[in-house]
Subunit: 299 residues, 2 copies
Amino acid sequence: MSSMVWSVWLFALIAVAGLAQAAPAQPSLADILDHSPPGDWREVDPARTLYLDLPHGRVVIELAPAFAPNHVANILKLVRAGYFDGAAIVRSQDNYVVQWSQPDEKRDLGRAQKTLKAEFTRRYDASAPFTALPDRDTCAAETGFSDGFPAARDPTTHLTWLVHCYGMVGAGRDNDADSGGGTELYAVIGQAPRQLDRNVTLVGRVLVGIDLLSSLPRGHGDLGFYQTPAERIPIRAIRLASDQPPAERLRITALRTDSASFSAVIQSRRFRQDAWYKVPAGHIDVCNVPPAVRVSGRP
Amino acid sequence: MSSMVWSVWLFALIAVAGLAQAAPAQPSLADILDHSPPGDWREVDPARTLYLDLPHGRVVIELAPAFAPNHVANILKLVRAGYFDGAAIVRSQDNYVVQWSQPDEKRDLGRAQKTLKAEFTRRYDASAPFTALPDRDTCAAETGFSDGFPAARDPTTHLTWLVHCYGMVGAGRDNDADSGGGTELYAVIGQAPRQLDRNVTLVGRVLVGIDLLSSLPRGHGDLGFYQTPAERIPIRAIRLASDQPPAERLRITALRTDSASFSAVIQSRRFRQDAWYKVPAGHIDVCNVPPAVRVSGRP
């Protein structure tokens, strides 16, 4: 692990001392990850990994074709057409979202479409991967994780959808449900705006570098849009990892959310056991479970 | 209202068109606030309002003596002793907290104490103000608002406590429960870290200017501490509003959380009715209800 960079989201690291108190003793997060078997990790597929390169660093996004197949396919077409070359972060709204788009409205879409039918929810069956959380959720009947992504389900309708947690990435749209398509993308940078669930197509999540987006200056126009082009943050490029030469790719592995180690992470987060905590919460929200990610290679 | 600056937290303003769809028709947030009677607003008491002045602007904090009387009294003593003159933001941890303290360890505490007995929870009775939310919470038996602050209650123990929502301010401590006192303060800048509830003494909340804290560069030391003194953001001063000449105070009013207008705000947030939303959430988390604040006067 010497050459690896740990990128567990930092808030996860507040409590790792590992002294037992009340309730069943839990190993610390660091212990769990250090002792997790290799099979509990998955390589994040370069064919659905985007590099969003900003002047101050790289943001890595994992796409979620299982939930938004048409939007993901369309975004890949946009990326390969160079649609986002010269794009910019145009919006930074406190406790809400950062959004980027192509200010040049004449930019060629390549083989992509401007708009698509919404992919807000999808049906699920017993074969769909889902690790349910044991605690109740304010908004949904069930919450948990599906192939790494925070998700919700409704057993009465057999519908499932991705959840607007910190770092999730979605396709902005106008009032028409089918007016999005991936040309305008946003990332959540505040308290989970759960009111957006089932109202926007979520297409993936930021795995590395969300802090490069969340710490941007806020925009002072309506809805946090920057008021002048000069305030915008230029995007150097958005590229697909698998389109880069292997030597230039990051190698990213993520803890499998259907693994025993991930279940242990959830338990350790529900019942904090280090010397600092006095009253373990005993519960956890789906948006408070941190993704555990290992990154190596040139950033 | 012409001379007033609206400072409803911006994410509240995403949806204000006001077209009715399914479910009972709800007025928009803007409608509710525009038509709220003056009696539904309270003047925020200058005797428990702090001005935290940074090089890039002012952060206004309302203290919560009803929940943390000893910590609030101690913080006022620190402020009046000039303890925070030359203090600095020393920590900025993504999706978690920003923290400030006095790097000069020899600084005179005045009549204040360095540490105090914890004020994590307090008993409540029927006289305690509490506007309960109708929706279930992941962590607490009941959540709602007490005199403007997001709070939780447990009817079986008759204990109540403030909740770690975005913008809440707390007194950092070491491992000992009674090792805090207000010399180190933090503000939440990410997904509500509810695991901290009942583990730290919350002392108030940021009413104005949380974006000045949340958009600071992240620290790259352990727990998001800045690695060098040069990275720290200097605090010009922390002062009590009522200690300033009246002409130099901000006049801040906040929507009363026991008012009919506030109940209408909650309903409008649970059932979004404008043209953009397709599926109203029908539920709301205590940390997704925005404080509605009006500010006038010199900032």
